[in-house]
Symmetry: none
Subunit: 459 residues, 2 copies
Amino acid sequence: MTHPAHDYAEQHIDRFLEDLKHLIRIPSISTQPKHAADVRRAAEWIGSEMEKIGFETVELIDMPEGRHPLVFGTWMGAGEDAPTVLIYCHYDVQPAELEDGWDSNPFEPTIRDNILYARGATDSKVNVITQLRAIESVLSTPEKSPVNIKFILEGEEESGSETINAFVAKHRDRLSADVSVVSDGPIITPHQPSMVIGLRGIIGMELHVEGPIQDLHSGHFGGNTHNPVQALTEILAQLHDENGTVTVPGFYDNVIDATPAEREAIAGADPYYEANWKSTSGAPAVWGEAGYTIQERAGIRPTLELNGIWGGYSGPGVKTVLPAKAGAKITCRLVPGQDPARIYEVIKAHVMDLAPETIKVSMEMQDMGAPAIRIPHDSKAVRVANKAYENHWDRESVLEVAGGSIPIASTFATVTDEIVIMGYSHKGGLAHGPNENTHLVMFDKGIGTAIDFLLMYAE
Amino acid sequence: MTHPAHDYAEQHIDRFLEDLKHLIRIPSISTQPKHAADVRRAAEWIGSEMEKIGFETVELIDMPEGRHPLVFGTWMGAGEDAPTVLIYCHYDVQPAELEDGWDSNPFEPTIRDNILYARGATDSKVNVITQLRAIESVLSTPEKSPVNIKFILEGEEESGSETINAFVAKHRDRLSADVSVVSDGPIITPHQPSMVIGLRGIIGMELHVEGPIQDLHSGHFGGNTHNPVQALTEILAQLHDENGTVTVPGFYDNVIDATPAEREAIAGADPYYEANWKSTSGAPAVWGEAGYTIQERAGIRPTLELNGIWGGYSGPGVKTVLPAKAGAKITCRLVPGQDPARIYEVIKAHVMDLAPETIKVSMEMQDMGAPAIRIPHDSKAVRVANKAYENHWDRESVLEVAGGSIPIASTFATVTDEIVIMGYSHKGGLAHGPNENTHLVMFDKGIGTAIDFLLMYAE
């Protein structure tokens, strides 16, 4: 397909890469209050760029103290009869410190072997720039865009998405569109596009164990006082059986199992999952429920994961303390049929059942969570997206059920008839970890794909 | 018993209290390099006081860079036929900051309701001054002391006792004596003396679990990768059974159980342990092995305690990480028969057995540990000490097996035939905590007791 939008993108690709670097250099860490001004600065820069490239309306939508702004722009020049595409990205990032194991400053984009390393490189600033510059390329042509465009970006995807969820609940009409393009998450390798036809949901919680009213001397009280760290391990170790199956009563009650057809549809992605597991995880051996592939264990099956644990002394040397308290962070990845709030309740009830009278246990839900979604792989949006990727990667996408969660996708699935997930980074991009990266071999292909989706969805 | 040494002590008791305050004001925190000069200043002041009161030799024994000096003095004027008493104290203290929860400056001794609050008030400067001024009182009399005296003080009891252990190993002859008086640790209440006839030993270790080569996204890998935090809890939860008994094979193999006579002997201390457990622990319920009292669970039974645990994310909010590693600190309190090095080996072997192939486990010993000791309660030293306390408290001591460890006591038990633990503070003295204190109702009684021990041990 040749179209002047592609010529425009090709001519400006160096500037687009500089834009990506510029946005990365703004440490828009939404979970850390000290970076609130940076998050806002990122939003303002994106908003001003949207104005420059021809959006008819651009708003920074402020929310209550402590939250981060939405950026919302519209271009409705295609007319009432043309379809409307709602594009979603997020511009905030996870925390990152050089000391975490980065080979270069996480907020100074660094290119080694055509791979760009930085926090946000893959999750998700490459998607922001890809969509922004694809829209610019289309609007730069004499015919402008054949579809109307609504572009919404949030600044707290990494910290709960409260603002956008509240906004969507109140303003479904302003977001109305024929299709939601959720531009977050990776494709399967830099050289093999993939299409997500399912995402797991999520629910997060914290578990606290308290014993003595203060830290005690482990000599004077060791043996007659239940150690909260020990009690915590005793509770947590009972949440899985030896096969990795979650033992919480009710956890699997309403699970809608993947059909044989669905499992067959995604089998093409298995080799990529296996290769990625080996290179990215590097763990001594695969773990998890028997009878499922690596992809399926992290896609069509729910999990209960311990994201963190703490208690007592962790400095150098010996400290003979019997700690007063201990705690753990837990998230569950959910599959269709599982209601986040109910999963929290069954886990809480089970933990309370397991807690002995020698300690006190409390739990708190950490965010509202999101249910899993499945996307029909024969929908128009998925077909058009597949074709757009194929135009630039010269191969068909494999289908996958991704293990991650994009809570906002669950929300958009209730706003527009169709939804499609289109990401422009790769699974080896180490989202959330040290040395997060995006492969630059994908950068121009991604912009081309995003352009083609806009052009072809009108047909 | 009337003796001019007591008259002397009575006349000088106000000065002795000022000495205690003076020594407390020197922040001899041995674990903090910035206080190295303070630790030395405390040693120099003690040494010069020992010279003033008539010790024949006084040495500050320096050790390698970064360690703190020993103070060692001798008075052998009682002659070759008289017994020799080796007295041990330590003059260093734990760190303390007003912000930790102190009601007054921890290094400015403050008296409220006849209780002196300060870091070191109970652990262990009251013991230093008590022994120093008891010796002064005895040497001030015309007959001087009926026993020869060796007085050794260390400045790193709170930071590993390396220096004194090295010194004792090299100079057993210089320390030779008939009895070691370890003057550290409290009596059971300000109004009830107690005699420690057993101390637990100790061994410390660290356990590390590693899984993936880096932190992973819990969406992409949750379900197919064994979570090291989960694996750690699964291992640790298998180290005790539901009764609190340690399940490590071989852990109890060589335990020399307390005899019925020993258990009967210490039963008098049970009510004090119960009262202290309630007020200090404040945990919801007593825990531990059935068939043992609160005192026994923390005295005659060995333990495996989790002093700390860490792994993954512990900051605010949700972080959907599958951590690359996790770890825990473990100390065991040991009873007679248990060899510290062997206990480390059996725990390591068991942990390795429990470790699944989906993760990597490693362990390291954190210090060399010390074996438990038992002190025959019908020994001459214990009988004399009991009588000395009774002279001043007008009641017999209760016997106890303390749960803590005084590694140096294990060492001295190999140098002298007899050993006795004589402390002059009380169990409510909050050693190592904020508002550490000593009850001044004990101060003159303690000096009187220390005087009587010297006088009566000669008989």
